[in-house]
Structure formats: C-alpha cells, structure tokens
C-alpha cells in the first residue's frame, strides 16, 4: 500500500504575463487583463497592476489570491511608514520591503511572480524583478508570467541590457524614448497573445514619469 498523497493544492495558477521597461526618466509597466484557471477564463477584465506608492507600481502574475494578499500587506506596511516618516516610500525602499515580505513566507510562499517599476530617488526609471520567495535584482527590463519565456528573448534582442558582471559597471537603464518603449510593449504582448493561451483579452499599461502616472489600454486577441 503506497503512502497517500495530497490531491488538494492550496495554489492555483491564474496565468497572464507582466512586463516592465525602465527608461532614463520614465518607467512602463504592463500586464494583460485575462484571469484563467486551467483551460477556462474566469474574467477578461482583471487588473494585475497595483499602485504601491506615488512613484512605485507593481505588476504580478501567478496565483491572484496570493497576489491580492501580498498587495494588502504592502499597502498596510506603506501606511505605517507614512505615519512614521511623514513621506511616501521611495521605489528602492518598497523594493526591499517586497523582498522581505516575500521571504517572510519562505516555507509557504506567496505564489506571486512580481515585477516592480517606478522612478528612483533621482527620477530615473527603475525595474526590479522578483521570484516567488523574494530574490530580486534591479534590471533595465523584465517579464514574468506564462508569456515570459516568449517575451524575454525578444526584449533581450531589442534592449540588450548589459550584464551585471561587466566592468566598469553599466547602467541598467534602457536607451529608448517613452513612445518607443510603449510601442515595444504593445508589440511584445501582441506576439505573446498569439502563442500563449493564458495571455490575451486586453493590455493594461501604466506609464510613470516626472509628470505623474497615466494608464493606457490596448485590445488583444480574445481567443
């Protein structure tokens, strides 16, 4: 008689893809709006993007219930920070907080694959990419989610971010203008929607620059 295995899992994968690209004075964060489970679509209009602070936005794919819980945690901690320091959290500060929050649940993780985007203290775009347990890295661009294996090679090809191993240390910031970066993101999602069944419906873009935050939408394939 073999040992009984659990056939109930606390996790589910709601699919979807997220992308973020950092520029000299802007940051573009994008995610599709499809939420699925197995081969079914739960909704075509679910936002995976959450504003954590004035100049800091997070896009997360994976298990959306865990993503929601994580967003709630971060919002609560941010509120406490604001009470104690009388200012908003900066993007690098939020980045560290997110990492610590994820690692706190190292042995029952948030099934959440995050990309954090915003402007750093000098107003330059910054993108940080995370795994489910909080390992993170500041990069010029990143993608996470079901379409990330399709999207990343193309972003590499177009943005050629230098390796962090290079000396002298090179900036992890992309030499594209805002309009070009937005176009690139739209192209990349159109391609991913063709081949990834979990990506599609609508694309939500959030663009952060010195002027503030704005949102754009684009229709994607609905099949």
């Amino acid at each position: 008689m073999t040992k009984q295995q659990a056939n109930w899992s606390p996790y589910d994968n709601n699919g979807g893809s997220c992308v973020a690209i950092a520029g000299a004075d802007y940051c573009v964060i994008a995610a599709d709006t499809r939420m699925s489970t197995g081969y079914n679509i739960l909704t075509r209009e679910y936002s995976k993007i959450c504003k954590l602070a004035d100049k800091c936005v997070m896009a997360s794919s994976g298990f959306q219930a865990d993503v929601r819980a994580l967003q709630k945690q971060l919002a609560a901690r941010h509120l406490i920070y604001q009470h104690q320091h009388n200012k908003q959290m900066s993007c690098p500060a939020m980045a560290q907080l997110l990492s610590n929050t994820l690692y706190y649940k190292r042995f029952f993780p948030y099934y959440s694959f995050n990309v954090l985007g915003g402007l750093d203290n000098e107003g330059k775009g910054c993108v940080l990419t995370y795994d489910a347990v909080g390992s993170y890295e500041k990069v010029g661009y990143s993608s996470q989610g079901s379409g990330s294996t399709l999207i990343m090679p193309f972003l590499d090809n177009q943005l050629k971010s230098p390796s962090p191993l290079l000396l002298p240390a090179q900036d992890a910031v992309t030499p594209l203008v805002e309009a070009e970066a937005i176009d690139l993101v739209k192209t990349v999602f159109a391609s991913a929607s063709e081949r990834d069944i979990y990506t599609g419906d609508k694309l939500e873009l959030v663009i952060i620059n010195a002027a503030g935050i704005r949102r754009e939408y684009m229709e994607l394939r609905k099949d």
Binding site: L150, P153, D156
Partner: protein
Amino acid sequence: MQIFEYNGSALVAMVGKNCFAIASDRRLGVQLQTIATDFQRISKIHDRLFLGLSGLATDAQTLYQRLVFRHKLYQLREERDMKPETFASLVSAILYEKRFGPYFCQPVIAGLGDEDKPFICTMDSIGAKELAKDFVVAGTASESLYGACESMFKENMEPEELFETVSQALLASVDRDCLSGWGGHVYVVTPTEVKERILKGRMD
C-alpha cells in the same frame, strides 16, 4: 529527469519569398554537461529538402539513418527526389509505427516543393503533423523561439533578410535556454543555391 531535455536542442524553420531558412543550435549535452559544440542537427535529404531533428540525440541519429535509407530506396524506384510533402508524410508514418514506444524526437522538415514553393512543417514525437505558413520551432528552447519568431517574422522576406531574422531569433532564444546554444547553424535555401552559415553567439 525529462527525456526530451536530456541533450538540449533548438530548431527553427522559416518561410521567405521563394526560399526558406532552417537553423539549429550546436550544443550537444548530457544534462548539465556539454559534450560537443559542433553537433549537426540539420541534415540534407536532397538539394531541396532538409530535415532537422531535436530531442534525444541517439533517436535523432537512428531516425535520420532510417529516413535516408527510405529516401534512397525511393530514389532508386521512382528515379527522382521526394517532394517535401511526401517526405513529411513518410516521417509521420515512421514515427507513428512506434506509437507505444516512440522515438523521442521532434522533427522539423523544410523544403522547396513544386514551382519552388517553400514548405515547412514540424511534428510531435508520434507523428502529428503541423503545417505552418510562417515558421515552425522545436526543441528545449521552443517557447523562447515562439516568442522571438512571432515578434520578428514578416511575410515574403528575401533570402538575406530572412537569414538576418532567423539568426537574431535563434540567438536571442538560445541565450535564454541553458540547454541549447554554443553558436548556430543556418541554412538558407533558394531554388538556385544553398547557403550554409555558422553563427557565433554566446558560447555558454
């Protein structure tokens, strides 16, 4: 241990204007160790027909030998080369013969058919054909290849532009796959000539 990920591979074929390109990586590994950096994954069946085999290398070699044998027999009997569509059906039949003990390979077939019309197709390990009008991909880097090709492909590319596109797509994709890489092998075939080129990419 996944059998399709034992050796590592990346294969892509793309259609252009009266031409096609077929490209592969050059790594042969045994799980995490690299054994060869000049492994040939694409073979010529005849001047206008190329076959690429991804997956388990031993099965790829055996399958290749069996297919060359069958094609030579066909040439003796019919006194002509096989059409790409026919060859694809042959490969599919041979794979399905082993339905309950398959060859662990995913073939990519590319050729010029009647009136120099380019033909590409891929199939799974038991012979389910997938005919495509634009591009086909196979191997451990297939997801990355899907993304890169989908973004870079244009219709009716001339041979030179097709070569550039296939090369960029291949190199970008294998750089995100640890089991494939060590350069690339690209064949661009037009009705008049076959150009074979080696690409140097990240050697890791």
